[in-house]
Amino acid sequence: MSDISGEESGAAGGISGRGADTQDSRFAASMAYFERAAKVIPGGIYGSKSPGFLVPGHFPYYLSRARGSRIYDADGNEFIDYLCGYGSQIVGYGNPAVDGPALEQARKGDLLNQPHPVMVELAERLVGLVNDMDWAVFVKNGTDATTLATSIARADTRKQVIISAEGAYHGAANWCSTNVFPVFMQAEQRDVRFFPYNDIQALEALFAANRGNIACIILTPYHHPTYKPQQLPTPEFLTAVERLCRAESAYFIMDDIRANFRLDVHGSHTFFGAHPDLITMGKALANGYPISVLLGTDGLRKTASSFFITGTYWMSAVPMIAAMATLDEMERMGGTAQLARHGRMLKDGLESLGREAGFRARVSGPLAIPYMTFDEDPDLYLNQRFCAAMADRGVFMHPHHNWFISLAHTEEDIARTLEAARSAFEELRLFSSSERF
């Protein structure tokens, strides 16, 4: 076996700021688990948590615990976390205001034969809170909610076609996942059509080409693709979506799963002035407890009632109790105003530190759900270097997926993050001037 000579971080190699040995010892337990996992789990760690989505060698693969804004890996390393369990943490890991009542219910009984009365309370609360919505159906994963939403739209309209934005993520079911195997293309994916987000002309053309066959359009409140700057909707775009849906008698589904309660407690559609017929929420809904919800308008109640909707775990009580507590705690901790304030500190700080170091770093997306890219490097080499350098300094910022601010992030956390960013940008500057890609 031949080693590749002297090219640890090789010019054509991957990303690295430190030697592999240093990293390996920092993540020895993570690596050992990964090697064991590779023998018994396809891919070791599959899907979006696969190490290749991060920067191997700089990020932990296994986490053992978390508290507030901090996560701790299997080796005991501590990070200020800006991924928040992919958005599910909104009032902080292990928040006693949520965990207290949830654990108490766990002791009394979680998964029962019939629903716990809290199901009614939660449905009433969400219907009262989220603008324009009249009913609620609880499921487990976001994918359950988006799949149910598109199915209800199809059943109600008796039409097949689903329209979606290119690069949008609506879950891991065959109709919407990136598992583009021909066998699915001929079945579940056959009637899903794509257009570039915010492109009214392309959308009009798509509606025209599929006239009479469109059941629904599914959109996230703003466009949050991986690997790319985030895009807010133009007001004209949302107006056009609603006009086209009306003319086609197609439903407008807003997939608010990633953004819910970070932009507006009444739903992200309120934040952007949109009027969807169906809304899906999940993630932050119960601060990490497994529950998602499909909310709908009166016009779809009858079709929803005629659906057989079930899952063994879909009515478990603990996540519903947790959701009620999360809604209370969110408001108590300062709500969306605080998220935006801290998001503003982070955005302004990062952009100005980037400028000082000579980079065109740009933070896109809403303040509470930011993502940083470098205008000079759409290939993301700089992102990967920057986030690796931040991870080396104890800050978990995903290089390819948007970040999340939670109500557990303090001003001090943001200040420490910016301190780390100053030296990470400096490392990046030295790397950029000395190293070829």
Partner: protein, 215 residues
């Protein structure tokens, strides 16, 4: 020389080292795909050599030796890792080039962004350019003292894929080690435009299904 298989699309041109002529001296014609597969994998099969120009015997002899040697080297237990990796990498990348337009991969190729991937294992370096439904592979020829590195990096590829050791390349390319696992363990590194290089992994899966390389 020119290789042509009846009923199997465009023919392939192979340049024999030290040949000066630009025109092919030999057309090797396979009457069907099965015989091409047999001959090219070192077994007995029908191939009709058609002389086109001077130097035909030399070309034929070279081809016989080279094609036998390649399969021999892949099979032999004592083949040095560097050579085995070189053969597998070439087979893989040119294989990608060959199957990119397949209808099975149409949607996959659509969602993989266009761009160039720099691929490296030790001294071996290639650039694979994905554009629309095609993949074009070039060997990165050492350009200066530090050789391969500068060649593979100039101009900067949109994504890079490098194997930590020749053995890592062999394990991954022969299907012994899953690419995603090798990534996690650091045997394979990727950087830059990840959807480009990861998309090609998916195309690779399809390729290994065809080739079933055993080493």
């Amino acid at each position: 020389m020119k290789l042509s298989i009846r009923g199997a699309g465009p023919s392939l041109h192979l340049r024999v080292p030290q040949s000066s002529s630009r025109r092919p001296s030999l057309l090797l014609f396979f009457p069907n795909i099965e015989s091409a597969v047999r001959v090219l994998s070192g077994a007995k099969g029908t191939a009709v050599p058609i002389p086109l120009d001077a130097g035909v015997l030399k070309t034929l002899a070279f081809f016989r030796r080279a094609s036998n040697r390649a399969t021999e080297l892949l099979r032999a237990a004592d083949t040095p890792a560097a050579i085995r990796a070189r053969l597998l990498l070439a087979a893989t990348l040119y294989g990608l080039e060959a199957i990119a337009g397949e209808s099975y991969l149409e949607r996959r190729m659509q969602i993989i962004p266009d761009g160039v991937v720099g691929v490296r294992a030790g001294e071996i370096a290639y650039r694979a350019a994905k554009e629309g439904r095609t993949i074009h592979v070039d060997r990165a020829v050492p350009a200066e003292a530090d050789g391969v590195v500068s060649a593979v990096n100039s101009p900067r590829p949109d994504a890079v894929l490098s194997f930590a050791h020749y053995q890592s390349a062999i394990d991954v390319l022969s299907g012994k080690r899953q690419a995603v696992v090798a990534l996690g363990s650091g045997e394979v590194r990727i950087g830059g435009l990840l959807p480009l290089v990861q998309g090609l992994f998916a195309v690779l899966d399809r390729l290994s299904w065809y080739m079933g390389v055993e080493v």
